[in-house]
């Protein structure tokens, strides 16, 4: 036995030498922690923290060191300063987060020059991924939910005419344009498009909705930024009795964020949205995700589609760390490692399209209904699998460049 003792030691030494050195991967998280959109930042941040907490052992012996900075207002300037310093001063190997499109847009030249990957957990303007080869997006583009909704609304919901109402800023225009493209392709007719004020303040939606109510389309496609606007929309819709008047409310899932759904009351019942995530989505990953979320954050706190995207973002990052053995110093290699990445997450099966570095995910038609236990729930009416960003596929406008 003793004879082979040294063999054991030698084997152990070899094994340890062959194993990677324990690396600490520095990750910069840039999200709006303060200001009018802080709740969006926090939804994603909670998902990040939860994933890191539960999966830290997966990348052992490596560790991640997360440095958080406030993205600031959606001007892009603060995000740019803060992220540039994360790269130059804190020497992060990867930056992630980014709720606002202007932030990501402002940073594209910086990360290209610095060769640091930017993994987007939210910002949804379609052509962002074209701006730099170092951008990977795990969240969505406005076209992901809106384009399939166009065909679905016409074919399955039976909307022959639709009115569009949107907050007057680029995501609103993108989303309604995407819907219109899909809807008209399927044979529907858009009656009017009403801009509803700036994204900064929640306006009184009543005048806009009243006008649509008077025009009597079959359906009303509404896009508003996630957050306080959604509640306002539902209130106005309910108060004006639009469902009774025969006008169905449809839109992307920003319309019924999971963490505000319970407050929306009866007005929300019957709303159909196209989304890639719902708390009630029936898959194993999502159940585990929800359980872990409630355990950590309480039973009154709900994840939403941004949290789900945040979760998958961290998952993709962790898988890249495993693949590259903790060595994320070459940004191009990190991006290569993430191209074609696929996994099952709370959203179902997701994949990063190697050609565009954008997400490919299932889009579900989701309807709000009242569950037997009295709470509001969402049920899946139908699923379009593996939806790509049609804007880039069809090369519409800026997506074509």
């Amino acid at each position: 036995m003793r004879k082979f003792g040294w063999l054991g030691v030698a084997a152990l030494a070899l094994a340890m030498g062959g194993a990677a050195q324990a690396e600490t991967v520095k990750i910069g998280v840039v999200l709006p922690f303060s200001g009018a959109n802080a709740d969006l930042g926090h939804q994603i941040d909670k998902a990040f923290d939860l994933y890191v907490k539960l999966h830290a052992k997966d990348i052992a012996p490596h560790k991640v060191e997360i440095i958080k900075r406030d993205e600031g207002p959606p001007t892009g300037a603060q995000a740019k300063t803060v992220t540039t310093e994360l790269i130059t001063n804190d020497k992060v190997q990867l930056v992630t987060g980014f709720v606002f499109s202007p932030s990501a847009i402002a940073l594209a030249p910086v990360i290209t020059q610095a060769k640091v990957p930017m993994v987007i957990a939210n910002a949804g303007t379609a052509w962002i991924t074209n701006l730099s080869p170092y951008i990977v997006r795990l969240s969505f583009s406005m076209w992901h939910p809106a384009y399939p909704m166009g065909a679905y609304a016409h074919d399955k919901i039976g909307c022959k005419t639709a009115a569009l109402a949107y907050t007057d800023f680029p995501p609103g225009k993108d989303s309604t344009e995407a819907f219109k493209t899909g809807f008209e392709k399927a044979g529907g007719k858009v009656t009017e498009a009403i801009p509803m004020g700036s994204p900064v303040q929640v306006p009184d939606f009543t005048p806009f909705f009243q006008r649509i109510k008077d025009a009597k389309p079959d359906c009303m496609y509404v896009f508003i930024p996630s957050g306080a606007h959604a509640t306002g929309v539902m209130k106005a819709y309910g108060e004006l009795g639009m469902r009774k008047a025969g006008i169905k409310l449809i839109g992307p899932m920003d319309l019924i964020p999971d963490n505000k759904l319970q407050d929306m009351g009866d007005a929300a019942i019957g709303t159909i949205v196209m989304g890639h995530y719902a708390v009630d989505l029936n898959n194993a990953e999502n159940k585990a995700f929800n359980d872990a979320w409630h355990k950590e954050y309480g039973k009154d706190s709900y994840p939403d589609f941004m949290s789900a995207a945040g979760w998958d973002t961290m998952h993709a990052i962790f898988d890249a760390i495993k693949k590259l053995n903790g060595n994320l110093s070459d940004g191009a290699k990190v991006v290569e490692a993430m191209k074609g990445w696929s996994a099952d997450g709370p959203r179902g099966h997701v994949m990063i399209d190697p050609a565009t570095r954008d997400i490919v995910q299932d889009e579900h038609a989701i309807e709000v209904y009242r569950k037997p236990d009295g709470k509001l729930g969402e049920r899946i009416l139908g699923t379009t699998k593996a939806v790509k960003d049609e804007c880039k596929a069809l090369k519409v406008g800026r997506c074509g460049s």
Binding site: A38, D70, T75, A77, T84, N89, I105, V110, P170, K173
Partner: protein
């Protein structure tokens, strides 16, 4: 010694001192070199914070332009961001739509456009004062922003004009990731702008402005062309704010409609009041203190930093009523009084 002789001597002495004061006001004092030395010092001591440093200098220039009208002419406005925005968009649109990307000529263009807008709006609005002027200037800035959003096909709306590239400065100096070049560029422009502002302030024109601020009726009574003077200084201040905006676009290589935000106008005013109005250097102190503290608090607590800033503002008002510079002045006065004894 007869009492009248004593009085006569002190009266002449007083006159002499007054004359000396008036004549000597514009001479450069040693203390004035401090902020510039500090700015250059920052370049060497904190080379990793140049990106942030450039933004601070841009804000200093913006605050300086506000000081001209707020501190010296006494015009209180909530729409100064309009000129910042016009300058920012002049450079942005020139680069994005016209392919004009030479930085220094961009500054001139921005100054002219912003100054023009300042002249036109000033001509109409400067007949009003107080709350009325505040609301009118505020409404102007917002309406400019809304117009930009109406034609978001041109302006890029709130997603802005991305990926602006600018030719190297003077054909030689490139923009780099660490922002070194641009820091010195902004500092150089600030020096030029400051010199201009200083000359204005210590000129007879500047004196007239102070007169208008202190006692408008008197100025009218002595026949001073009050409205003309106000419009002139408003135009100049607008032009300078435009240059600040242009630098903002150049240093960020990006601009969105948020440059016209009310937040922007409010913030620069807060910075100026914090530093001290009507003293030129108040802009330096206020902008630097505010932005450094905002950055510091924001790193300390990304969620609750506003509490720190709010508390600082409250304490500043309670204990430094004439701005941070006011504190320095009090200290200076204290020591000079003691010297006299």
């Amino acid at each position: 010694m007869a009492a009248s002789e004593t009085i006569g001597t002190s009266r002449t002495e007083a006159r002499e001192r007054a004359a000396e004061y008036l004549v000597g006001r514009h001479r450069f004092r040693l203390a004035e070199a401090l902020p510039w030395l500090a700015a250059i010092g920052v370049y060497f001591i904190f080379p990793e914070r140049m990106t942030f440093g450039s933004q601070v200098l841009v804000m200093v220039m913006f605050a300086l332009s506000l000081d001209l009208i707020l501190g010296y002419a006494g015009i209180v406005t909530l729409g100064h961001a309009a000129f910042f925005g016009m300058g920012a968009y002049t450079v942005g649109l020139a680069a994005a739509r016209l392919g004009w990307s030479e930085p220094i000529s961009g500054l001139f263009a921005a100054a002219i456009v912003a100054g023009l807008v300042g002249f036109i709006t000033g001509w109409f609005l400067l007949r009003y004062r107080g709350l009325t002027l505040l609301m009118l200037t505020l409404a102007t800035a917002i309406m400019l922003q809304e117009t930009g959003n109406l034609r978001s096909d041109i302006s890029g709306g709130y997603d802005g004009l991305p990926g602006l590239t600018f030719k190297p400065l003077l054909g030689v100096f490139e923009y780099d990731l660490y922002g070194h070049t641009y820091y010195l560029y902004v500092l150089a422009v600030l020096v030029v702008v400051f010199y201009i502002v200083r000359r204005i302030v210590y000129s007879p024109f500047g004196q007239a402005l102070t007169g208008i601020r202190e006692n408008v009726r008197r100025m009218h009574a002595i026949g001073s062309p009050v409205h003309g003077r106000l419009v002139t200084v408003y135009t100049i201040a607008a032009a300078i704010a435009g240059v600040a905006g242009a630098l903002f676009t150049q240093t960020n290589a990006y601009v969105t409609l948020t440059v016209f935000d009310f937040d922007n106008s409010a913030k620069v005013m807060v910075m100026l009041i914090l530093g001290g109005t009507g003293r030129l250097y108040g802009a330096f102190v206020g902008a630097t203190v505010y932005m450094v503290l905002e950055d510091y608090f924001s790193k300390l607590s990304p969620t609750f930093w506003q509490f720190g800033i709010g508390l600082m503002l409250v304490l500043a008002v309670l204990f430094t009523p004439r701005g941070v510079l006011g504190v320095f002045e009090s200290i200076g006065k204290y020591f000079s009084e003691r010297k006299k004894l």
